[in-house]
Symmetry: C2
Subunit: 486 residues, 2 copies
Amino acid sequence: MTEPIHDEDLLEVQAADIPAEDGPHPDDRIDDERHDEENRLKPEYLRAVRDALEEGEKGEVYDLVEPLHPADIADLLELLDREDRALLAAAITDLMSSEVIAELNDHVREDMMEALAPEAVATIVEQLETDDAVQLIEDLDEDDQQAVLAEMEAEDRIAIESALAYPEETAGRLMNRDFVAVPEHMTVGGLIDYLREEGDLTHDFFEVFVVDHMHHPVGTCALSWILTAPRNVALTDVMKRDQTLIPVTMDQEEVALMFQKYGLISAAVTDDDGRLVGQMTVDDVVHIISEEAGEDVLLLSGAGDGDINEPIREAYVSRVRWLIANLGTALVASLIIAMFGAAIEKLVALAVLMPIVASIGGNAGTQTMAVSVRAIATNQLTRANTWRIVWREMRVALLNGATVAVLIGIATSLIFNPMLGGVIATAMIINIAVAGLAGVLVPVIFERLDQDPAVASSVFVTMITDSMGFFAFLGLAVASGLVSAA
Amino acid sequence: MTEPIHDEDLLEVQAADIPAEDGPHPDDRIDDERHDEENRLKPEYLRAVRDALEEGEKGEVYDLVEPLHPADIADLLELLDREDRALLAAAITDLMSSEVIAELNDHVREDMMEALAPEAVATIVEQLETDDAVQLIEDLDEDDQQAVLAEMEAEDRIAIESALAYPEETAGRLMNRDFVAVPEHMTVGGLIDYLREEGDLTHDFFEVFVVDHMHHPVGTCALSWILTAPRNVALTDVMKRDQTLIPVTMDQEEVALMFQKYGLISAAVTDDDGRLVGQMTVDDVVHIISEEAGEDVLLLSGAGDGDINEPIREAYVSRVRWLIANLGTALVASLIIAMFGAAIEKLVALAVLMPIVASIGGNAGTQTMAVSVRAIATNQLTRANTWRIVWREMRVALLNGATVAVLIGIATSLIFNPMLGGVIATAMIINIAVAGLAGVLVPVIFERLDQDPAVASSVFVTMITDSMGFFAFLGLAVASGLVSAA
């Protein structure tokens, strides 16, 4: 190892291969002529780009787009429609950097890549970091994947193929294969010298992994500890042995929870033999956290992937499935109503009021279900506290049921008659209590069966609250002698 | 500045005040006798802790809990009920570190703090970093806040009071006041020497901020650049000038989107005069990202805060409001049904089938609404592409409507009669189309009115799809001459 130069007077020397300033000035980003106060591109700016594209003014387009950050260029592409997107990409080829590609929405990227020749895609892929490259390639059709891989350099191809060998959404797919690992015997000073020598540590890194001779991780050093420790200290004395290891097979949802729970910045990924094979860094994990936390609302509503850039056919297929499932559950409710057809004929007020009982029950069930699904997803509702939470939700449900029952009971008594008021109030309490129970138990049962509780809970809870709403109300109306069923 | 010691043989010297290994061995964390494969505490482990607590075996409790990571101790406290929580906290006082307190769920922490005397809370607060301390104090009642602040050292108190002066959920509240800022004229070597000298840079940091003489940030240096650059290079040549500045008044949701969009690890927070006053780091922001992305499902369902640790009374108040609002919208639907009472008396099949039209419409509306709310929250649906998205959703709605209409139309024709089949099919298409339109426009309108679209969209969309479902179906039945209204 060479001794680092210590003469502070040689200041200007060697400054050449240092990352220089890039992109726009910070003040350009917010509240400028292109962004609104929430950092979204302004409609007027977009209109200017669109107009220039349509008039074929490539130079003007370039001047408009050039000051943007790569993440903003990605946003701009997403905001445009397909035709304008292709025109824009053609007008700003040298601004279409790997950062832009990496920041693009999956659907938009896939759509744009499918329009390119395999060699062109291969050239883009080779510029990306492995994790971003894998993300791009995994979305392509099997044939396109093979065509692109065939065009690539052997080394890059092997890295990507080994990532693709792991299942989707696991650490093995998502990890970065570039990381800094050093042997146990190094000192802080030795490490700094080593890092200075290895010029091409291109990617930012936040921790150095210390490994034994079998390449098993034995500890990690945050860069801030290395910078504040004396040169002569052994890394084994600075490093933290208590590290969180991510197995290659771990699902991305678990990885995201690990990063959140332990406040990690980066973590070592290990293979089945415990060897260090990659790292995950928090800047990649934030996307997963946001995706996993945001997908519950889409899954619960039956909107599938729920991305506004998803092709219409895919959106149709994923949504219509749930509408058809819902048709099935609505038919169950209809059968229950049909059982009481004679009672409705005698007292049409029953038909007027029955949707209220079903609707409020459905609403109460959805509230409890949303709370339970989030609690399960964040590991807060587990086998260890299920019954405590069920009991808690039952108490909330009884309070809610009592309140709503009093209101609807009084209103119905005044408008129709006290007997009908008593029937609807009782039915409401029963249905809200059932909704509370179903709202917790349905997601919990799906979880125990190793199914994602967000996917199918909604259909079942709605079926239960609809059917129970109609059954309790119409059944009580008959049982109480208010109307006869026959 | 002192010259750092370079003799690599002095290896063992000074290793004393270096962060040593702490906590359990990594392999203890997953798949051990305490955790299941998803890193949740096992029910058997919890039962053992609970049994020991109830038998008053403090020593046994301590031995059981001692190997846990602070974040797991926090999880354990959350999983227990109130009484056991208090018993546990008393049994493991010296394990109740600031990390445990910082990791605790807000409601659980608040509940535990309220049981303590102000001096005890003040002692805990002084151990926390400012951002965590503020989070703890802001949840207390005004009186308790004052009592705790009065017990604190002046310096800590002032830091917390200045944070509390900013509105909740803004960068000024959430930022960390500890950061490393250095003047422009420093070199890489000078910076390293400075960092080695300043022993008590307790908190991990990931970037060094370079400031001018007015304390305005002019650039940032990632620690990895500092470690890989020669000592004699000027910081102004290594630093990135293109930095994202967070104004103190920025809302946490915007901060979270900034970190995601630009892949930030830390960012400078500046006051109104552009001076550097704090930093936000990604490990704090991940909690915000998860919270903001996860809250949509809770808000849309009307479950308010939706935390399973929320006190029952608060959960009741936040949920019953929406049930009562929903009662109002259900009454609107009932009024529409009442208009067609005579028709229902003549043909009770209308009462049997009408909930199907309303229910599927509601479902389709919820799907579109969930997609729109997420797209607005992630800045993907803006003024610049609203009409493109409306048109997209209308096309999906028409495809969905046609599919469901064919199914229900055929089934109704076979069971009842073709005329009724035609009526329900037409009503279904109308209602799903209306649902698609309302599902986008209602959230968009709330957003334009500066309201959170997740909060109130549900009530409006449901009212529209319910009313339209009943009105289209019953109205068409009468208009088509299937039954007479009078």
